[in-house]
Symmetry: C2
Subunit: 229 residues, 2 copies
């Protein structure tokens, strides 16, 4: 498969978007799907050749990625896909819990019937996926569910921040949710969250959102404290 950024299409695309941003998204995608694994080095020449561009835009894209925490740069050595330690992953879970709690707190007092309906629809579909034990169906819905709540909260910066944290957590290999019965438990929590939102109970929604994330954290690291390493 040829991963070159299509140069024919390029002429049209280039008008509204720079190569740099295209490359950054492409790199994010490669990291997300695991084509680039944690610890891998990004060879600028190789990437530039593969994408059919010069090193300039590649370097600029890498600097953007560095700031968002997906890669780290060592001077004169190169840029490396970041490795997330247990400790850092745990830290990110705490942060994510706080951000999601905020989303719940903001959304509860102003959620619309339509939004509730949409969230309910998602939980129903997740229920079905859980019944059939289809993790590959459940997982994207789960992501979309949380994203929707943050989106509905109306805080744009919160949305981009959560997306950033989410991308960063993808660098952490060990995943939750793939343990038996986890999907059903998770979805029960989802239902509770929507209930609290519908009841416009800010504090309860906030608490349930945080607990939901922290439960995932506990599954990975055990009940309390910050894991070493």
């Amino acid at each position: 498969m040829d991963s070159t950024l299509d140069p024919g299409l390029g002429l049209r695309i280039r008008r509204t978007e720079s190569l740099t941003s295209l490359i950054r998204r492409e790199l994010e995608r490669m990291i997300e799907i695991g084509e680039l694994k944690a610890g891998d080095r990004l060879n600028e020449n190789a990437l530039a050749a593969k994408l059919g561009v010069s090193r300039g835009p590649v370097r600029e894209a890498c600097r953007g990625l560095e700031q968002s925490g997906l890669v780290h740069v060592i001077v004169n050595r190169g840029v490396f896909v970041r490795e997330i330690s247990n400790r850092e992953a745990a830290e990110l879970y705490d942060i994510r819990a706080s951000l999601y709690a905020l989303a719940g707190r903001l959304l509860a007092p102003k959620i619309t019937k339509k939004q509730v309906a949409e969230l309910r629809r998602m939980t129903r579909r997740m229920e079905e996926a859980a019944e059939k034990d289809e993790l590959n169906v459940f997982y994207p819905l789960n992501v979309r569910f949380h994203e929707a709540i943050v989106e509905f909260s109306g805080n744009g910066r919160l949305l981009s921040m959560c997306a950033s944290v989410h991308r960063e957590m993808h660098l952490f290999r060990r995943r939750t949710l793939d343990m038996p019965g986890r999907m059903k438990i998770s979805n029960a929590e989802h239902t509770g969250i929507v209930d609290a939102l519908e009841a416009k109970d800010s504090e309860k929604a906030a608490r349930l959102m945080a607990d939901h994330v922290l439960k995932s954290r506990e599954l990975l690291f055990g009940p309390i404290g910050t894991p070493a390493d």
Copy 2:
């Protein structure tokens, strides 16, 4: 005054740090002190000439700044120091409140006597500054106080995130704290926070941290809701 990055020093510095990161910090500084104001365009040629480097590193630095939200880039138009609307500033206050609350929650159960003493020392010095109405003394201490709590919390990512949010909020012109009596009120809240931390009362510390930030928010935007614009 000549703002050129000293090329003599450069030879020594360049070994451990790239020009890009030096330039990024310099640009952050310029934005922080207001030498570059919100809405200003960053002319790559001019900046490169002024700093005595070529455009490459300047562009890379700008891409980093873009990701951290300090500038936004319009293709073929240039990079502009970001303008923060009332709405976005309010959003940032909410986020900051949540992050600080997390810092308080994490720190409370594990704060040491030494750390309490250090925080008390700061509140005392702020008290003095408030008595003498010295805002220029109070303000950096205030910043340092909050930074210390986040630092003591032990969550490294939280620290860098708070720093990022703080830098971004600097883009917002209207400042709080410069109203009469604000310093004393603020410092009373600080004392309450340290009390809660010393008592190892996580939830109270979290709540007080959040309230402290949200009070600033209210001073700027009024009691509730998200301001338009």
